[in-house]
């Protein structure tokens, strides 16, 4: 029983990380049709800069971590918005070129990060409480899982509120469904592209800081690994569906944890099988729109 609880909550924590990356991927694809391979780079640069600021001000404390998170959010948002504005926008509607640009950016940025911070992981410090455990139903749960889950829930709630309550949220929801009709109502839908990138980038940036807490290090490859799973989550959840991304994040991460434990470390393999099954049985994903 305690093993199940541990796997479940760890899965939820990892799912929280996936969601922070996948939410932006899904919204960006849903609205603009852009597969953003640079999304992992937003996460990595935010993790590095968040860590650099946090450790200088107050290393290994809550205050330092809070500062890292804020820097991560801001860096993620700014870098993502700049990417949209300077690169993606110039290739409006040219989806293959857009994807290629983001691939190039991802490769180049990893090389850049390695040049600055080296190729090895840099171990980070975290507040003492996060390194301790809490006992739930006999399972000793590392406390950082709770932080991850709480942050992902807050981000999910924030994005949902933004989509439901604001004019831009309305434009984005409509644009995901039928972008050309939004322009035919006299709305410059491109302006909301930058906003979607900024929101997705901010979530990924926070994800970067939290990933460094979860893994205990920062590295130039932090974003690359998470991006792969986030893409899988996005496809399984249904491209363009935020709720789908949230549900799929949890499903994929929990499945991964259980398969790793009970099926001799086959978690990644099982996830890919799950992806294949979804693509065959329900190509639009769990909650995706009919293409």
């Amino acid at each position: 029983m305690s093993t199940v609880v541990l796997l479940l909550i760890t899965g939820l924590g990892l799912g929280a990380l996936y969601f922070l990356v996948a939410s932006g991927l899904s919204l960006i694809y849903g609205l603009m049709g852009v597969l953003n391979f640079a999304h992992g780079s937003f996460l990595t640069i935010a993790a590095f800069l968040g860590w650099e600021v946090g450790r200088r001000v107050s290393d290994g404390t809550w205050w330092g971590l809070a500062l890292s998170a804020m820097v991560g959010l801001a860096v993620g948002a700014i870098v993502a918005a700049a990417t949209e504005y300077l690169l993606i926008r110039r290739l409006y509607e040219r989806h293959i070129e857009q994807a290629l640009v983001t691939v190039g950016l991802a490769l180049a940025s990893v090389a850049l990060f390695e040049g600055i911070w080296g190729t090895d992981p840099i171990y980070t410090r975290k507040p003492d409480w996060l390194a301790q455990t809490t006992e739930i139903l006999g399972a000793k749960i590392p406390n950082d899982r709770f932080l991850l889950i709480a942050c992902a829930l807050i981000v999910l709630g924030g994005i949902v509120l933004f989509l439901r309550r604001t004019r831009y949220g309305l434009i984005i929801r409509a644009g995901v469904e039928n972008r050309s009709m939004v322009t035919a109502l006299g709305i410059d839908v491109r302006r909301s592209f930058t906003i979607v990138f900024a929101i997705g980038g901010a979530a990924a940036g926070l994800g970067g800081v939290l990933a460094s807490v979860y893994y205990g290090y920062v590295s130039a490859h932090l974003g690359s690994v998470l991006l792969i799973f986030a893409f899988i989550v996005t496809v399984i959840g249904g491209l363009g569906s935020l709720t789908g991304a949230a549900i799929a994040s949890v499903l994929v991460a929990v499945l991964q944890q259980f398969a790793n434990f009970y099926l001799a470390g086959t978690g990644d393999f099982v996830v890919v099988v799950a992806l294949a099954v979804v693509l065959l049985v329900r190509p639009r994903g769990l909650l995706g729109k009919v293409a």
């Binding site: 309305l170 929801r173 469904e177 050309s180 009709m181 322009t183 035919a184 109502l185 006299g186 410059d188």
Partner: protein, 245 residues
């Protein structure tokens, strides 16, 4: 006649490399309803989409004195063009109220006017547009265009697939709108054309083949047969969309 509100000259339109509008020229007067007619697949929808910049196009299009053929779609619409697309294209996942709110461009949108014109959809403001009947969706689509003060409406087959009673309702709403704004109307139902249109433009194979008053066309059984491929139906509610195929 006063200055036309829309002047289209040498308009070409392409979809995926295929030419679907070929050298189309016509004018829309500043008042009343002008019907854009022709058999299925002649390029009526594509002509409307070319005017709006929704598909690749070349040629000259003037709205009043403003040249609009180089503008992106949203700028054209902001010049005062209301669009009711074929197949309605309401946002099914948004509520009726959200569909209307999204469409509001004016500082003082005409919400009371819409409420009076379409009381039925006003009562369904909180309902998702995707769960409405076809007729109700058409009302939402019309309301989105009528909520702003426009200089021109482009309305594409608003009665397609609707029950006779709803066809009348839609025609009444268009007649009401036409009192204040000129309309370019694509329509297959001859009864509706008779009731609303003053002038007609007929397309065939992506080109204009006839321009004139509505009675020039509609009083001539031979022309109706030749240009629209239909006989004027005895039943006033018989949509000709089916029989033209």
């Amino acid at each position: 006649m006063s200055e036309p509100i829309l002047r289209v000259a040498g308009l070409h339109g392409r979809i995926g490399g295929q030419q679907v509008v070929e050298d189309v020229s016509f004018e829309v007067p500043a008042t009343g309803v002008t019907a854009l007619l022709g058999r299925n697949g002649v390029g009526k929808t594509s002509t409307i989409k070319s005017i709006l910049g929704l598909i690749d196009r070349t040629g000259e299009v003037h709205l009043g004195d403003t040249r609009i053929d180089r503008m992106p779609t949203h700028r054209i619409v902001q010049q005062g063009v209301g669009y009711v697309p074929e197949d309605r294209e309401v946002f099914g996942s948004l509520t009726v109220a959200e569909n209307l709110r999204l469409a509001e461009r004016d500082a003082a949108p005409r919400r009371e006017f819409i409420q009076r014109l379409f009381p039925d959809i006003h009562d369904r403001r909180a309902q998702r547009a995707g769960t409405l009947s076809g007729g109700q969706q058409q009302m939402v689509s019309l309301a989105r265009a009528l909520v702003n003060e426009n200089r021109l409406l482009l309305v594409d087959e608003p009665t397609k697939g609707l029950a006779p009673r709803i066809v009348d309702e839609v025609a009444d709403a268009l007649a009401e709108a036409a009192r204040t704004v000129p309309i370019l109307l694509v329509e297959q139902n001859l009864h509706v054309i008779r009731k609303l249109a003053e002038r007609v433009v007929v397309l065939s194979g992506g080109r204009v083949v006839f321009t004139g008053t509505a009675s020039d066309l509609l009083d001539d059984e031979d022309r109706i047969q030749r240009f629209l491929g239909v006989h004027d139906a005895a039943d006033p509610h018989d949509s000709t969309a089916g029989s033209a195929r």
